[in-house]
Symmetry: C2
Subunit: 368 residues, 2 copies
């Protein structure tokens, strides 16, 4: 595993040197973890100019959720009250004779950036921009293996919930039970706050659980994901509570299902991101729900639950093979409820069988 | 309640005007919530120059965890794909003729700050610095009432756990059970990730739960808190598993207890923050544990779990009445475990009975 992280740093170093900087200071936690294997709170990675150094504000905790540094990563723990690892990194770079240092301006606050300039006034700070995020876009086999396990865990947790009695239980309890089951099956934790939405709440994107209880005739929509070794997946399903769904429920479900399938089927290397969004959105738009749709119908996943690419009308760029994305259109009708269907898939060429579905829980409309 | 938020904004407006700005743009979520009653993800508050406006990237969700805007707060939801509420706020301020706008440079990233300058090139951006955080330091009666309820909820959750069988259960399960109980008793959620640490993990600050199971003879240290209407408290206790604590456990417990009591008893209006830290630290230092101590022994709580003041050797400033703080010294001995005792208290003058202890679970060394 150590070589993997070293190779990632080498690739980044090439990019940084190409832009004329002797070194880079990485502060965004997911980027630090991608390059070193771990991300203690507040840590920063100084990439060159002399050698790579992971600067930490406190000793490594050993918590699995924090990851573990690759064997070849040198870790420096600042002395107690030694200040901000990012500032210490700039100071070290200046002392090592660097003149230009690339920093993550999209992560550093104005105040922190100013502190870097003050500690190392002769060091010129440039913007690394989203170079590490760009490198993270296409996943390697190890990363996809983690996502596959994360998806299996989420499928298991959801499957077990469906076997239990739901009527009368609150959204909050169902969400906590799902999170407990994720951990039971080996997750480091939930990938994001679990969403359980019943009745009029169903289908609302990112709905946080309330004390509303599940009732007969409700739509129930659930969104959850596991964090496995830092990698986060997402699954969303909508069910009907009771024996028979009503006509409007069946119609709405079929419509969202058709939109989600259209999005899934559009996934292929070389396809424009906005094209995937367009085909999913078009199905809902034609049925008159265009105004109710959110700004995107899917997004990348990995070390963060919401990363590039975005599947939205304004998205630039094309899909690549080995890019994991969600496809998650939904419709929410205020006062009535709605439907949301969400899968995590890996983009694959048709020769390899097309998109690989990681979240395999059925998408039939189940009446529970 | 509406007047309360209006009064907070009026006070801030006075401060902003005193510094020469016509308006301010508040983006840090806890600050937005403090001034408006709610903080939807990514929202920003434009304070003046014309009128106050809460800018949101998407419709309010109604989720209790997000809060509810005070009745007199005008809410503007940006159209789908309308961009960043902070950027929209700067644009509006410029169009309303503002020349100077104060922004939170400790919250805005360099990249976002640049986007503000680009959308409103003639608007001069100044630093609001931590003006809102400073205003949040001393709590009013409503805020303390929320903290009191949050502490009651945490006490209840912890009390119930102590009545259950602990041996053989994993840190993760105990943490999840505590979080479920917090919600059962009315919390909007945990105030921070619940910490359950057994055996050699016990006493580690901020330890995240692992799969280690509780064993006879273990120290068990637990840190939890409830989030009630946005207000967050903290309680930490250490127990011994089994019938009789061993001598080293009793000695270490008594020592940390003495340090924590010294810190609690030092809390009074007008006392230097570092003096509270010093008295608690001194007890542990004299016993030879000085090197093992963290950078602080307590901190303020409120809308964030870790806010000013900090109780640390380098802390500047004095305590005021109605400032809630934690007092939480601890010792961790690698390979053996340790003790952590943590209370949330409100600083009160002696005439009012001295510090008000919010977290009332016993601090005797219980053998469970």
């Amino acid at each position: 595993m150590s070589e993997l992280y070293a190779a990632r740093r080498t690739r980044l170093r090439g990019r940084v040197a190409g832009a004329g900087s002797a070194g880079a200071l990485i502060s965004r936690p997911a980027n630090v973890r991608y390059l070193t294997g771990c991300a203690p709170p507040g840590a920063a990675l100084l990439l060159g100019p002399a050698e790579d150094l992971l600067l930490c504000g406190s000793p490594l905790s050993g918590d699995p959720s924090e990851g573990r540094p690759a064997e070849d990563v040198r870790v420096a723990v600042l002395p107690t009250r030694g200040g901000d690892p990012v500032v210490a990194g700039a100071d070290l770079a200046a002392k090592a004779g660097a003149e230009l240092l690339a920093v993550e301006e999209h992560h550093l606050t104005v105040t922190r950036h100013r502190a870097l300039s003050q500690v190392a006034p002769r060091l010129q700070l440039t913007d690394l921009a989203c170079a590490v995020e760009a490198q993270r876009l296409v996943k390697d086999d190890d990363e996809i293996a983690c996502l596959r396990i994360a998806a299996e865990i989420a499928d298991q947790a959801l499957g077990e919930l469906l076997e239990s009695i739901l009527v009368g239980r609150t959204e909050r309890h169902l969400a906590l039970e799902l999170e407990r089951r994720l951990v039971d099956h080996g997750a480091d934790g939930p990938a994001f706050p679990t969403s359980v939405a019943t009745g009029p709440n169903a289908g609302r994107p990112g709905h946080l659980p309330t004390d509303r209880r599940v009732e007969e005739g409700d739509f129930l929509s659930v969104g959850l994901g596991a964090n496995y070794r830092g990698y986060r997946c997402e699954i969303g399903r909508t069910f009907v509570i009771g024996t028979t769904p009503s006509d409007w429920q069946i119609e709405l479900y079929d419509l969202v299902f058709a939109a989600q399938r259209a999005g899934r089927e559009a996934l292929a290397p070389g396809v424009e991101c906005r094209e995937v969004d367009r085909v999913a959105r078009h199905v809902l738009d034609s049925a008159g729900y265009g105004e109710r749709l959110g700004p995107w119908t899917g997004h990348g996943v990995g070390l963060e639950i919401d990363e590039d690419p975005q599947l939205s009308p304004a998205a630039m760029g094309k899909l690549d093979a080995c890019v994991p994305v969600t496809v998650e259109p939904g419709v929410h009708i205020p006062g009535r409820g709605g439907v949301r269907i969400d899968d995590t898939l890996v983009v694959r060429p048709e020769a390899d069988g097309g998109p690989e579905l990681l979240t395999i829980t059925t998408k039939e409309l189940l009446a529970l």
